[in-house]
C-alpha cells in the first residue's frame, strides 16, 4: 500500500462537476484509481457514468473540480498527450462502414504517430496483438459496416488496446456482447490490470457481471457517488432497491462468494 501511495494514482477525479447547459450531470464526484486496479462504475440510466468517462478523457470540460491523469492535470494536456495516457471505449459510436476492421484498430495508433508518419511494423504488430486478445483478428479485413453489434464493440476494445495507454476507460464494453464474450472481455481487462499493471475504469450496467470481475465498485446516482467499496459492500439489497427503485434480490455466487443480483417476476 505504501509503495502504491508513493506512485501517482492512474486516475484521480476530485470534486468533479459537469453540466450540459443548465442540467447538472455530475455533482462533486471524487474517485481514485490505482495502477493494476479494475474499478467498476455502476448506477442507473442517466446517473452520469458516461459523462464521467467523457470528462476524464477531456471531451467535456468540467464546470468544477479536476481530473488528474497519472498525477497530471488533464486540462493542461493537449489532446495528443491525453490520448497517450488514456484510451476510451465509447458506447456505440459511429464508425465509417467502408473502413476495414484493421484500419479502425490502427487508428488507435494515432497519438503515437507524427503528422507525416505512416503506420509501421510496430503499429501493425500492436494492432494485431490487440485484435488477437479481443478475438477480432479473424475479421481484420472485413468492412466495419458488415460487423455485428458485438463484433463492433470488441473492435472498439481492440482499438483502445492498440493505443497502449496505462489507463483504459470503458463505457458499457459488454452491452452488446453474448455472455461468453462478456466474460472474456472483463477477464481480459482483469488480465491487463494484473499482468501489465494497467488501470481500468469500466462503466457496467450488469451489476452481477460488475460484481464478479471488479476489484471495487463506485455507484453513481443522479450525478453523485452514493457508495464505493468492495462489490459486496456496495451492492446491498437496501441500496440497490433505493437507487434502482426495483425489487432485486441479492444472492451469493457459490464459487466466488460475490453478489449475484436477481429480479423477481413480481410473484410477491
Amino acid at each position: 500500500m505504501s509503495a502504491r501511495a508513493v506512485q501517482a494514482a492512474a486516475l484521480e477525479v476530485c470534486g468533479l462537476s459537469v453540466a450540459y447547459g443548465e442540467r447538472p450531470a455530475l455533482r462533486g464526484v471524487s474517485l481514485a484509481l490505482a495502477a493494476g486496479e479494475l474499478l467498476g462504475l455502476v448506477g442507473p440510466n442517466g446517473s452520469g457514468k458516461t459523462t464521467l468517462i467523457r470528462a476524464a478523457s477531456g471531451v467535456v470540460a468540467p464546470r468544477g473540480g479536476e481530473v488528474r491523469v497519472g498525477g497530471v492535470d488533464g486540462s493542461a494536456l493537449s489532446p495528443r498527450e491525453v490520448a497517450l495516457r488514456v484510451a476510451v471505449v465509447p458506447q456505440n459510436p459511429p464508425l465509417p462502414p467502408a473502413f476495414s476492421a484493421l484500419e479502425i484498430v490502427l487508428m488507435g495508433r494515432t497519438p503515437h504517430l507524427r503528422l507525416l508518419q505512416a503506420e509501421g511494423g510496430a503499429d501493425v504488430e500492436a494492432a494485431r496483438r490487440a485484435m488477437l486478445a479481443t478475438d477480432t483478428w479473424q475479421f481484420a479485413d472485413r468492412r466495419v459496416g458488415e460487423l455485428s453489434g458485438g463484433e463492433r464493440q470488441r473492435l472498439l476494445v481492440a482499438r483502445a488496446l492498440a493505443q497502449e495507454t496505462p489507463l483504459l476507460l470503458l463505457d458499457e464494453p459488454t452491452a452488446h456482447l453474448d455472455v461468453g464474450h462478456q466474460a472474456a472481455t472483463l477477464r481480459l481487462m482483469l488480465r491487463l490490470c494484473r499482468g501489465e499493471g494497467k488501470a481500468v475504469l469500466a462503466a457496467v450496467h450488469d451489476l452481477t457481471l460488475a460484481a464478479q470481475f471488479c476489484d471495487r465498485l463506485v455507484m453513481l446516482h443522479r450525478g453523485e457517488v452514493v457508495a464505493e467499496g468492495a462489490p459486496a459492500d456496495v451492492l446491498t439489497p437496501e441500496r440497490v432497491r433505493a437507487v434502482y427503485g426495483a425489487s432485486i434480490h441479492v444472492l451469493w455466487h457459490p464459487l466466488t462468494g460475490r453478489p449475484v443480483l436477481a429480479p423477481d417476476g413480481g410473484a410477491q
Partner: protein, 375 residues
Amino acid sequence: MNILRRAVPAGGEAPAAAAADALATGRRALPALGGSAWPRFLLAVAALAASILVATSVGPAGIPLEATVRIILSHLPGIEMADTVPPLWRDIIWEVRLPRVLLAGLTGAVLAMSGATYQGVFRNPLADPYLIGVATGAALGATAVIVSGAPHAWHGLSLLPLAAFAGAITSVVVVYAVARVGNTLPTTTLILAGVAVASFSTAITSYLMLRSTTHTLSVLSVVLGSFNTATWGEFTWTLPYVLPAAAVILLHGRLLNVLSLDEEQARQLGVDPERTKLLLLGAASLATAAAVSVAGTIGFVGLIVPHAVRLLWGPDNRRLLPMSLVCGATFLILADLAARTVDRPAEVPVGIVTAVCGVPFFLYLLRRTRLGAIW
C-alpha cells in the same frame, strides 16, 4: 480470486488458437495499407498525362499528336525539337490550348480533392463544393470584384481568388453554423442550409450581373463555368493559392480518416478536431475559391469523382485524396475536350458535359455498390 486467476488461461485459449490461421488473414490485410496502391496511382497519372496530350492535340487546326509532343517538349530547358513545326502551330499549342487544358486539369483536381475533403470533414456523402454553397459563394465574391471595376491584379497576384475565397469561406461558416445540431451535422439540415445559402448567393450574383451592363459577359463566364478564355496568367495566378492548400489537404489524409469517426472519438485518439477541421475546410475553400475565380462554377466534379474513386479504391483518405486529385484533373480535361468538340464550332458549357457524362457513370457505380457500403 483463485477461480478468476485460473479462468484467465481458459479465456486466452480461443484467441491463441485463432492466431495460426489468422496469420494468413493478416498477410492478406496488410499489403492493402500501402504498397499495392502505387501501381493504380501511377496508372491514373499516366492516364492524366495521356489526356493532357490528347486534349492539347485535338482541335480545329488539325495538329498531329507527334507535333504536339515536340512543341511541348521544346519548352523544357535544353531540348529543341520543334524547329520543323510551323510557328502558328507552336502558338496554338503553347499559347491557346495547353493553358486551357492545364487550367481545366487544375480546376478538376481542386474540385475533386475539395469535394473529398468536405465529405470527410462533414462526414456526409452529399457534401461537395456546390451543395454546401461554397462554389456559389466564391462566384459571388468574384462577381463583386468584376462589377466594381477594381483592378484584378496587384503585384502579379490576382484579387479575384481572394474575393472568391472571402465569399467561399463566408458560405461554409454560415452553412456549418446553421446546420450543426450539437456535435453532429445531419444530412437534411446540411443540404437545406447549403441550398439556402447557394440560392442567396446566386440571387445576388444575378442581380449584380443584370445591373452591370459592361461586365455581363465576364460575370456570365464565372457563373456558367468555362475555360475558353484561359491564359497562362490565369493558371499561374491560381497556383499560389492552390498549391499550399493541396499540400495541407494531402498531408492530412490520415487525420481525415480519424475525423471521419466523429469529433469525440477523434479527440480521444489525440486529434484536435476543431483545429484540424478548420485547417482542412480553410484549405479546401481556398482552393475551390481560386478555381472558381478563373474557371467559374462547375458542378458534379466534386461530388462524383471522390465517390467513384471511393467505389473503386476504398475509403482511406491517404489514397482517396491524391487519387481524386489526379482523376478529377483527367475527368475535367476530357469533359472540356468534349465541350469544345461535340458541337463545333459552338462550345457547350463544360458544366453541362460534366453532368451529362458524369451522372450516368455515377449512377452505374451507385447501382453496383450501394452507397451505404462505400461510405
